[in-house]
């Protein structure tokens, strides 16, 4: 392949996943201007590192990894904002049983509220509510949820992006979802989506 062909292919590949790159950058920087800069910088870095792309079918995890690394080295410091839950409270090196009981306990109220069709949850809870709840997640969990749930990466691919073992992605997905449900519940309470009656007997 000539360098012109390589560049054309690269350009098309970027175009093909640009929305995903921008989305990931938005979830990381939580700011449109920074997200655009981060994507641009990552594209430049990716081209100069094109030789490290071993398998063209794995372009997405490869470029996500570059973007994530770029965020950590150049953007994280200035975008650090307080999050609702401290990472330490939910350190990932917990026993599996702990995670499971956390899963069952913490999500129960939210799920029982949500599961009641009379409450028309789907109509009440909007995209902005989901995004607000995602913002509250500690970064490690937020990124895992974006890569797997939003972008549809396998645990293996997400592990490649973040440079962690696949088992870590597995546990982050559990905790990330649990925390997200907790944050959604709190958001629903705070914004009056849940009435006092509905809260009775089901306060977390």
């Amino acid at each position: 392949m000539t360098s012109t062909e390589a560049k054309t292919w690269f350009g098309q590949s970027i175009e093909g996943c640009l929305d995903s790159l921008y989305g990931l950058a938005m979830r990381l920087t939580r700011n449109a201007a920074d997200a655009e800069d981060l994507v641009s910088e990552s594209v430049t870095k990716a081209w100069s590192a094109i030789g490290t792309l071993e398998d063209r079918n794995r372009f997405r995890p490869w470029i996500f990894r570059i973007l994530h690394n770029c965020y950590i080295s150049d953007y994280r410091k200035k975008s650090v904002r307080p999050v609702a839950y401290s990472y330490d409270d939910y350190a990932e090196e917990g026993e599996e049983d702990d995670i499971t009981s956390l899963l069952i306990k913490q999500s129960a109220d939210f799920l029982s509220w949500w599961g009641n069709p009379e409450r028309e949850f789907a109509n009440k809870l909007l995209g902005k509510d989901i995004l607000a709840a995602m913002e509250k997640l500690p970064e490690a969990f937020r990124v895992a949820v974006v890569l797997v749930n939003v972008e549809g990466l396998s645990y293996d691919e997400a592990a490649e992006v973040l440079g962690v073992p696949p088992g870590t992605i597995r546990s982050r997905m559990k905790r990330g979802r649990t925390l997200l449900q907790k944050a959604l519940w709190e958001h629903a309470v705070d914004s009056g989506l849940i009435s006092d009656n509905e809260m009775k007997g089901s306060k977390p």
Binding site: G11, I14, M26, V39, V43, A122, I130, N149, V150
Partner: protein, 84 residues
């Protein structure tokens, strides 16, 4: 279930919930584990409902967190790639 294969080992709700997310993420690779999980769902209303809810929530998250790159970023990148 095909004849002769109806002796699926029962799992409890704890084990089912523990595997729920791997199932939703398409990461329950082992056919035996998958069969046990699905068998449990067929017989446990609570875990079945939970799986339905989690599936719907997952779809809502996916839809909500999807972004479209702004046009000016698309233009900026086209220029950038041309100049590489």
């Amino acid at each position: 279930m095909k004849e002769g294969k109806d002796k699926i080992e029962e799992i409890d709700c704890m084990e089912a919930i523990n595997g729920l997310y791997a199932y939703l993420d398409g990461e329950m690779a082992d056919p035996g584990t998958l069969a046990k999980f699905e068998h449990h769902l067929e017989h446990c209303h609570s875990c079945y409902s939970r799986t339905q809810l989690e599936t719907a929530l997952g779809q809502l998250i996916k839809k909500s967190a999807k972004d479209t790159a702004p046009e000016k970023l698309q233009t900026r990148l086209k220029k950038l790639i041309q100049g590489l």
